[in-house]
Amino acid sequence: MSYHFDFSFLGQRWPAFAEGAWLTVQLTVVAIALGFALGTVCALARVYAHPLLRRLVAGYVEAIRNTPLLMQIFLVYFGIASLGLKLSADVSAVIALVVNMGAYTTEIMRAGIEAIPKTQVEGADVLGLSRLQVISHIVLLPAIERVYPALTGQSLLLMLASSVTSQISAEELTATAETVQSETYRSFEVYIVVALVYLALSLIYRVGFWAIGAALFVRRRRLGTLR
């Protein structure tokens, strides 16, 4: 075996990797934010809404969590197009990632909401807080604080999973890598570089989430997970 590693393509091509990374950041930040919003609404519905709606949300969550993301992406991209609505690859990728993230967030947030003691909600009611105030200040914020580590983990997984959207040629890091490797024929080296870029992104996301958490939840008290 004699293989000579050749990373010389980096000299010329590094801007492509940087741009790919930036595209992945844009794609996933949008997907995480929208997916979080969708999941939070669904979690509230899962706990408080009419039984029929609860069932519907539960069905959505199970359907997404028990099928591969790749199939969800194909269904959105090719499926919706076949129904006559042509979506671009990027839009399809965002939709699929949001729907996926929403389902996982629903389960995480539901656990957080259910962990809020009932007496706190009753107490807030007695103090005359409006329904909206109760939901936002007494239920949601403490719930998010409680499940914040799980949300961070799920967001990281979504960022990594977004590499799959390259398969419908959405513009992001993995797709960029495929272009570079098809032009340079240094497949192994290209994917080593991409792996390192993803590792760096994971680290950046982790630090970012930690910073957001530190700014958002100033109380800094240890929250046990309720059973």
Partner: protein, 215 residues
């Protein structure tokens, strides 16, 4: 263009067998690696702990798709012919191993401290402690999350389609190319995946409940 018919359904079901086979390969390979990693993570030797942690951090910070590409192209460098089953089995094992290692480390650490101390007092050596005292108890704790993780393994095998291994996802693409009914085809593929995964999800949930009651 061919009309979608029952033949295609059979073709998809046939391909689903490969999804299950690949899942088993990935799970068995991942389990062996995962056990080694979990034990290394709780080892007395710092170097082992660090090495295992480094491996887990790297794999968990890299997309499976990239691990898959690296195995695929890496194997060809070492001189093997590009065999997609080998590459898929290898990368899925490497990937599952990291996650199972982390899950099982938690399970080993969840075994109460006095169990270690008591088995020490009985004069068991480290190996005996693991085999007779710690691992049997850790295994009980580990079953629900492990079954839950199997769902992830099954879903992850869909990525093998990208390097050309014909399993359920790839078969779906092939059928779609022939019939051009993506909505129907991918929905059906999704249903088949669901039929494989959902029983595992339910089993994991039930086992977890039973475990909590038993404690």
């Amino acid at each position: 263009m061919i009309q979608f018919n029952s033949m295609h359904v059979f073709y998809l079901l046939e391909a689903a067998k490969w999804t299950i086979a690949l899942s088993l390969i990935a799970f068995i390979g991942g389990a062996m690696l995962g056990l080694a990693l979990a034990l290394a993570r709780v080892s007395r030797f710092k170097i082992l702990r660090l090495a295992a942690m480094g491996y887990i951090q790297v794999i968990q910070g890299t997309p499976l798709l990239i691990v898959l590409f690296l195995s695929y192209f890496g194997l060809s460098i070492v001189g093997y012919r590009l065999d997609s089953l080998v590459a898929a089995g290898l990368s899925l094992s490497l990937f599952s191993g990291a996650f199972l290692g982390e899950i099982w480390r938690g399970c080993i650490e969840a075994v109460p401290r006095p169990q270690w101390e008591a088995s020490d007092c009985l004069g068991l050596n480290r190996l005996q402690q693991y085999v007779y005292v710690i691992l049997p108890q850790a295994m009980r704790i580990a079953i629900p999350p492990t079954v839950g993780f199997m769902v992830e393994v099954v879903k992850n095998t869909s990525l093998a389609s990208i390097i050309g291994f014909v399993e359920l996802a790839r078969a779906g693409q092939i059928v779609n190319n022939a019939t051009f009914q993506p909505f129907l085809v991918f929905a059906l593929v999704g249903v088949i995946y669901f039929a494989i995964c959902y029983p595992l999800t339910v089993a994991s949930r039930r086992l977890e409940k039973r475990f909590h009651v038993a404690r």
